[in-house]
């Protein structure tokens, strides 16, 4: 039986797709057979971030509609063993995601995969609801910024009331916070919410803190999940988060400003 994870946030542009690509790759690197599904019907982007955009022939919606077999739509990653991508359609809209259709595909995937990772679209409408409905675990992607924190809280409410687990009175969906685009320098200057502030407000366990990093754009430019950039702080932060997700006890790095040399401090002062 596989585990279903949803990467969700309510708000758009906070890093769900970036995190989905990184997380799925990290799980596969750890030896788990993993598939990452793009639920953002109409705005396909996961394929670009994963670097498989030219290999898309059939998609998730084709499979739901019975126009293609699952194994015709699944794309096997060229770099990592055990990693597959199920891209979405660019031409349909989110109504194409029927609950029965999604369930059928997830059931078929769960025969083969250890982890199924659902990359949620923004909002709290059909696409987002379908991506979280069947989840066992939710990773709440949040930026240290007021509207993102508030939207995350709304999504937590939705998970607690409108997921399959909530509706059927099962064990609740586990919820963990992934705080992304964190800028320790701005936090130190009092310009950005601290990790602890966000934790106090949302009151869920912390899975990881991913710093604001230029490596993310560089990686997406070339279609590589940032976790494969092992030298980057964002890549390392995602790797740590995957370890914690698997139950390992790993200290949080990248929460405090990096020590600066005299030269860059002088530069900063004169700037």
């Amino acid at each position: 039986m596989s585990k279903i994870i949803v990467m969700t946030s309510g708000k758009g542009g906070v890093g769900k797709t970036t995190s989905s690509a990184a997380f799925a790759t990290g799980l596969a690197l750890r030896g788990f057979k993993t598939v990452v599904i793009d639920f953002d019907v109409g705005l396909r982007n996961l394929d670009l971030v994963m670097g498989c955009e030219r290999r898309v022939v059939f998609d998730f919606i084709n499979v739901i509609n019975g126009e293609a077999k699952l194994n015709q739509a699944l794309i096997k990653d060229k770099r990592i063993e055990n990693l597959y991508i199920l891209p979405t359609s660019q031409t349909r809209d989110k109504d194409a995601l029927s609950r029965d259709g999604v369930e059928k595909v997830l059931n078929e995937l769960s025969k083969e995969f250890d982890y199924i990772l659902c990359d949620s679209p923004a909002g709290i409408e059909r696409g987002a609801l379908m991506s979280l409905y069947f989840a066992d675990h939710a990773i709440i992607v949040t930026n240290p910024e007021v509207s993102s924190v508030r939207d995350s809280d709304r999504i937590l409410g939705v998970l607690n009331s409108r997921s399959r687990r909530a509706e059927q009175g099962l064990e609740p969906v586990t919820q963990q916070l992934l705080l992304t685009r964190y800028d320790p320098d701005r936090v130190e200057r009092g310009e950005m919410l601290k990790v602890d502030d966000v934790l106090e407000i949302l009151a869920i366990p912390l899975l990881g803190v991913v710093p604001e990093s230029q490596a993310v754009l560089r990686a997406s430019n070339v279609g590589m999940p940032v976790i494969l950039d092992e030298a980057s702080n964002a890549g390392q932060a995602y790797m740590d988060a995957v370890g914690r997700f698997l139950g390992e006890d790993i200290d949080h790095r990248f929460v405090n400003p990096q020590k600066k040399g005299l030269f860059s401090r002088l530069l900063r002062r004169s700037a």
């Binding site: 910024e145 007021v146 924190v149 407000i201």
Partner: protein, 123 residues
């Protein structure tokens, strides 16, 4: 840097304000979410009744349900406008024109008030 900036108290960091604003707005939103379905309706109907008599500000009404072990409380907190304004508003609603001396009265310093109702129910 001007010499005066030494004496000025440091401005409150914007992140502190962000946190406070979030705590307030989310306390509201969570209460609305966890409450029973009838709570928003109850609030609207209560408001409609009170608005017949007093001019109230929608933002100054709070309806809160606290679930306890064997006792729940429904708390209705309404901040009323200053007394004279309220009278004028009520008179206007009743179809009268506010009397001339009310105009004069309105210029006097006014004081606000607040009703706070609370109902308990064993459950």
């Amino acid at each position: 840097m001007s010499i005066f900036s030494f004496f000025r108290s440091a401005p409150r960091p914007s992140a502190v304000q962000a946190k406070e604003r979030l705590q307030i707005v989310m306390a509201h939103e969570r209460a609305g979410r966890s409450g029973p379905d009838y709570l928003p309706m109850l609030q609207q109907e209560l408001l409609a009744v009170i608005a017949k008599y007093v001019d109230i500000d929608q933002n100054k009404v709070e309806v809160k349900l606290d679930r306890g072990g064997d006792c729940s409380t429904l708390e209705v907190n309404i901040e009323l406008p200053a007394r004279e304004q309220a009278k004028a508003a009520a008179a206007a609603k009743a179809g009268d024109k506010p009397a001339g001396n009310d105009d004069a009265a309105a210029k006097r310093p006014v004081s606000g008030g607040s009703v706070n109702g609370s109902a308990k129910k064993r459950g």
